[in-house]
């Protein structure tokens, strides 16, 4: 028997496969038993009701997608009353994802959502910080440190900081999140991108720009996962373009302790249970006793080589 469990701080997950925020909801229970997952991660919520972005909210690019869903939210109250209880029927821990406009709002919000049934809070710091000219918190170490530190004082729940691939300083941001008390990192959110309909000249998303996800994002998010796993001691959860068991293995080998599956669930709603099963089979095939035995085993001939020479 292969040991599929993985520890994310104080939480032990029964396997390292979980959904990515915004690509998962209760409706998926009509496709498979959600208890086969390592954790449940809900769509980001804001405290107040919000509308989200104009349509079209998604489009397809070469082998990947763009989305500008935004964060439509029925508000925290509605969420806590209607959604959190749904997940209480499952063993898998519920991770909620929150967003706010300022570090203080984040902290207050974290306090409020710390209700029974919530196992951890994922902090969506890819959202704009209105105190930093609308730049996302996760773009710089300073605002990241600030928001995580304030949240750390406001809640005892595990805090997972979800990083953005749009920053040029991912290692510094990761270290700032760790120093401020984050329990884990998630690498990464979508990458800012754009598409135009060349026939009409019209932008293909109602919001002009949107986030790239799916296979095209994988090499970028995998690189971030690798960089972060080497730079911090807290667990890193890989996310970006995972759709096959080989993708899962790549992330684990790069140093991720678990992975989140996003867009692949849209392409095949049974992706996650399939990956759980295939990961187990693959570990058996390799005669590895556990997921742990694979994590961080990347073989990079020359440790000293860095970004320096790549361009």
């Amino acid at each position: 028997m292969v040991d599929l469990t993985t520890k994310i701080g104080t939480l032990t997950l029964k396997n390292p496969i979980m959904p990515a925020s915004g690509t998962f909801s209760e409706e998926l229970a009509e496709v498979f038993d959600l208890d086969c997952l390592g954790a449940h991660v809900a769509k980001t919520i804001t405290r107040a009701k919000r509308a989200g972005n104009p349509v079209p909210r998604v489009c397809e690019v070469n082998g990947a997608m763009l989305n500008s869903i935004g964060i439509p939210s029925k508000g925290a109250e509605w969420f806590l009353k209607n959604i959190v209880p749904f997940y209480a029927d499952y063993e898998a821990p519920l991770v909620i994802s929150i967003s706010a406009n300022t570090a203080d709002e984040f902290a207050h919000f974290a306090e409020e959502v710390g209700v029974p049934g919530v196992a951890a809070i994922e902090v969506n710091i890819s959202c704009p910080n209105i105190e930093d000219d609308g730049k996302a918190f996760a773009m710089r170490p300073g605002p990241t440190r600030d928001v995580i530190r304030k949240m750390r004082s406001a809640t005892d729940l595990p805090l997972w900081a979800k990083l953005s691939p749009n920053t040029g300083e991912v290692v510094e941001v990761a270290q700032a999140a760790e120093a401020a008390g984050a329990d884990a990192l998630v690498t990464a959110n979508t990458m800012l991108a754009m598409a135009i309909d060349s026939r009409t000249g019209r932008v293909r998303l109602g919001n002009v720009m949107g986030g790239l996800s799916g296979p095209a994002l994988k090499p970028i998010a995998l690189r971030m996962t690798y960089q972060c796993a080497r730079a911090v001691a807290i667990p890193v959860i890989g996310c970006g373009g995972i759709s096959t068991v080989d993708d899962v293995l790549e992330y684990l080998i790069a140093g991720a302790r678990a992975v989140q599956i996003g867009t692949a669930t849209f392409i095949s709603p049974t992706t996650m249970p399939r990956l759980v099963r295939e990961l187990e089979q693959e570990l058996e095939r390799r005669v590895l006793p556990s997921v742990d035995a694979l994590i961080g085993t990347v073989d990079n001939a020359d440790e000293a080589i860095t970004l320096a020479e790549y361009a």
Binding site: E27, V58, E60
Partner: protein, 282 residues
């Protein structure tokens, strides 16, 4: 997408009481023919698990990767027909772009990954005794199973089929075989204008006692029907489209605004729809 070719057996649910109602399955192509210069009819051999459908529901299709087309997202398609006895599921679709272009290359014997059935189908309320179907374009596909359902329920049916030109009229035989009175209108004949149709429909309301409208495929016809329906106090439903990613209700890509008692509501076409109350559509 070799990944998605591997289907999770339902046995994953063994030991739990939760039963899946949406399935991802491989379906084999039985026949695949051109219906006219734009539309193809795809008939699949599908397992019973996905054939518990309602008219108006749809499937989300994983179009194949071909040398010419590499679609990424699934494509939503209304159910054109489903038959549990024969184990058949059919789609009538217009070859439009990347996804349907790739689909058009499917050959009999090949396999197509489908997810469904999805969404809320049409509801034929008990008080709706004399329905009128008004369809154009893909709507001719979407309303076909509804015609069959009306026939089964013994509701005498009238169907107005609109198209650009007579060769693009589809499903009329199917409507007729359901006992429907079929009226065809086309742009080339000049019979498909809103003015003409409004007069026609008001006539039908009087002559046939039409008490419900069902429509799909044209925003123009939808507005027209809303207007006539409001005037005559007639109920009805419309099937809508929107760009989708998940098709199941997870991503919130497919929203549209709707008129509800408590003001405007933003609903998911894939989940709360694709069929909505006629007057709620904004």
């Amino acid at each position: 997408m070799p990944a998605s070719l591997c289907v999770v057996p339902d046995s994953i649910f063994a030991g739990t009481s939760r039963q899946p109602s949406i399935h991802e399955v491989e379906a084999r192509v039985k026949t695949h023919e051109w219906v006219n210069g734009q539309y193809r009819l795809l008939v699949l051999a599908a397992p019973a698990s996905v054939l518990d459908c309602e008219p108006g529901q749809f499937f989300h299709l994983l179009c194949p990767q071909t040398d010419r087309f590499q679609p990424y997202l699934r494509r939503p398609m209304s159910i054109y027909s489903y038959d549990q006895m024969k184990g058949e599921l059919a789609f009538l679709y217009k070859v439009t772009g990347t996804g349907t272009g790739a689909m058009a290359e499917l050959k009999p014997g090949e396999s197509l990954n489908i997810v469904g059935p999805l969404g809320q189908g049409f509801e034929i309320r008990p008080e709706w005794r004399r329905p009128l179907l008004v369809a154009r374009g893909v709507g001719l596909a979407t309303l076909a199973p509804l015609a069959r359902e009306c026939a089964q329920l013994g509701r005498p049916l009238t169907a107005i089929c609109s198209a650009r030109s007579p060769d693009l009229l589809m499903s009329t035989d199917l409507f007729r075989s359901c006992g429907a009175e079929v009226i065809t209108v086309t742009d080339t004949d000049g019979t498909s204008s809103v003015e003409n149709l409004t007069a026609l429909i008001e006539g039908l309301i009087h002559s046939r006692g039409i008490d419900a409208f069902f429509t799909c495929g044209s925003a123009r016809l939808l507005r027209m029907l809303q207007e006539i329906a409001a005037r005559h106090g007639i109920g009805g439903q419309a099937a809508l489209e929107q760009h989708m990613a998940c098709g199941i209700g997870m991503c919130q890509a497919c929203v549209r605004p709707f008129r509800r008692e408590d003001g405007a509501a933003t609903l998911r076409v894939c989940r709360e729809g694709p069929v909505f109350d006629l007057q709620e559509v904004l």
